[in-house]
């Protein structure tokens, strides 16, 4: 375990205090506008960010589950989300018992687990101190009548490892070469085309040349991988399927969070987003545009590159113009 510069850095970490009933009030308001499921996932994500943010400047490291189980209760004492004690752990899994989860107490009895923000906070802390990826499952909760809230941390398979595609064994193809399309870091491109294959090929070409890619697509990932020879780059599927690599199209916040996480880990990031038309139809135009604007900002900040293929005829002229204003537009011919 390492506790480098804990004293000085902790004092500089900016925090504000939030009462539990404000969290409940936020939860209620979100539940009305976004529905229960989305709300729970949002609270979880905010928790993750809070946990990561709390530890970020502390330089505390714990590599094994044993070390994590010792460190977390001490850190948790400063969070204010209730007392916690470490339960049994294995080489991969950890258990924590919350004697007085203020989230569960604020929510009250609902016959369902309610500690979503707390789960996220725990995951954020554990990830940040260990550099490993976790997911959290609440197996007991005051809100559903249990005596304590119990949260298990399990290894997550959602982790994206930024990696370039291998050129080994790759067939020479008639890619859109660097000579035809210049892509610059920090720039978001709108690829106007009827031929999505050319866009996937451009993505592959650049990831084979060293860019670390993330493919977000409406197309089924296995098919994308086999058809376009994308082997190593992580692929997120825009779908309502209940799979770890799928993101529901209405979960723009979750998608944004995944993109931001990827960008934080990568140095030469390249993201292709195939299916913006699908996101527009599943949400609404304003939300999808705002989503694109937010990603574009992050792309600029992290010096990455974004490719958004679009079929121009799929949108009204005015809607297309607004998107074009945000991007460098490239017309990709067949």
């Amino acid at each position: 375990m390492e506790f480098d510069s804990l004293d000085t850095e902790t004092a500089e970490t900016p925090f504000f205090i939030m009462p539990s009933n404000a969290l409940k009030s936020l939860r209620d308001e979100l539940a009305i506008s976004e529905g229960e499921k989305l709300t729970n996932e949002m609270l979880y994500r905010y928790g993750v960010r809070c946990g990561e943010g709390m530890i970020e400047r502390m330089s505390i490291k714990a590599s094994s589950t044993e070390e994590i189980s010792k460190v977390v209760p001490n850190l948790w004492a400063g969070v204010g989300l209730g007392r916690v004690s470490a339960g049994p752990f294995t080489a991969e899994e950890l258990t924590f018992n919350f004697q007085e989860s203020i989230e569960a107490r604020a929510v009250g009895k609902t016959n369902e687990s309610s500690c979503h923000f707390t789960r996220g906070y725990l995951v954020g802390i554990a990830q940040q101190i260990s550099d490993k990826s976790f997911k959290a499952v609440e197996t007991a909760c005051l809100s559903r009548g249990d005596d304590v809230c119990t949260i298990k941390l399990l290894p997550s398979t959602e982790y994206f490892e930024p990696v370039a595609e291998s050129t080994e064994g790759a067939a020479k193809k008639d890619y859109i070469g660097e000579s035809s399309i210049k892509l610059e870091p920090g720039v978001s491109y709108l690829l106007e085309t009827d031929d999505l294959a050319r866009c996937y090929e451009l993505f592959l070409e650049r990831t084979m040349a060293g860019a670390q890619g993330l493919c977000i697509t409406r197309d089924f990932p296995d098919r994308v991988r086999s058809k376009f020879n994308i082997k190593k780059s992580p692929v997120i599927w825009l779908s309502n399927a209940d799979l770890e690599y799928a993101v529901e199209p209405v979960q723009l916040g979750k998608l944004y969070h995944k993109i931001e996480d990827f960008l934080k880990k990568t140095e030469k990031g390249l993201i292709i987003l195939v299916g913006i038309e699908y996101l527009i139809t599943q949400n609404n135009y304003s939300s999808a545009l705002k989503f694109l604007q937010l990603i574009k900002d992050q792309i600029s900040i992290f010096g990455a590159t974004l490719l958004v293929p679009i079929v121009p005829d799929a949108l009204a002229e005015k809607d297309l113009k607004l998107i074009e204003r945000e991007f460098e537009t490239i017309k990709v011919e067949k």
Binding site: P14, P19, A22, S25, R105, L252
Partner: protein
């Protein structure tokens, strides 16, 4: 805390919002810390989901509830509304949302509050719009809990909109 003479400790505090015995004081367990980095994430996600205007409303109301509850749980109440400015300046130091550099009464009976270091605006950076929704809500909620009257707060200048300081107008609700 400075200005303590203007703040009265209330006799009784309850665990509002918590189940169990509502008469048991539970100040310690009912707050948690939120890194200010999350403010940017909240702004972005809410505006993507609900649109700018609704997002501002949600964040303002969340801030209001925060200010109201934190002040109530701290057990403070003003016996003289004229001391609201001093009380806010002192309480604000504890909240973590920045530092109030001046509070000046306006001709209309409101308070003009200047904050040189709004945490919320700093977390958002320069984005060409006013962003201190949680902060304004927090101020209004705090003022309401301190005085027992309803207050509203509006941001008139913002660091994120290019101003040097953030400026808020806090007034009693008509």
């Amino acid at each position: 805390m400075k200005g303590g003479s203007t703040l009265l400790k209330k006799d009784h505090v309850t665990s509002e919002g918590l189940t169990g015995d509502p008469t048991v004081p539970d100040v310690r367990a009912s707050f948690f810390i939120v890194p200010t980095d999350i403010l940017e994430a909240l702004h972005q996600e809410f505006s993507a989901l609900a649109g700018e205007r609704s997002s501002s409303g949600i964040l303002y109301r969340t801030g209001y509830r925060c200010g109201q509850t934190v002040t109530a749980k701290m057990n403070f109440q003003l016996d003289d509304d004229g001391m609201l400015g001093d009380a806010l300046t002192n309480l604000w130091i504890e909240i973590g949302l920045g530092r109030i550099s001046s509070i000046i009464p306006t001709d209309e009976g409101a308070l003009k509050i200047v904050s040189e270091e709004s945490t919320e605006a700093r977390s958002m950076g320069i984005v060409r719009k006013k962003v201190c929704d949680i902060t304004t809500g927090y101020l209004a909620g705090t003022a309401s809990a301190l005085t027992g009257h309803d207050f509203v707060c509006e941001e008139t200048r913002c660091f994120s909109n290019g101003a040097e300081q953030c400026e808020y107008i806090l007034r009693r609700k008509v």
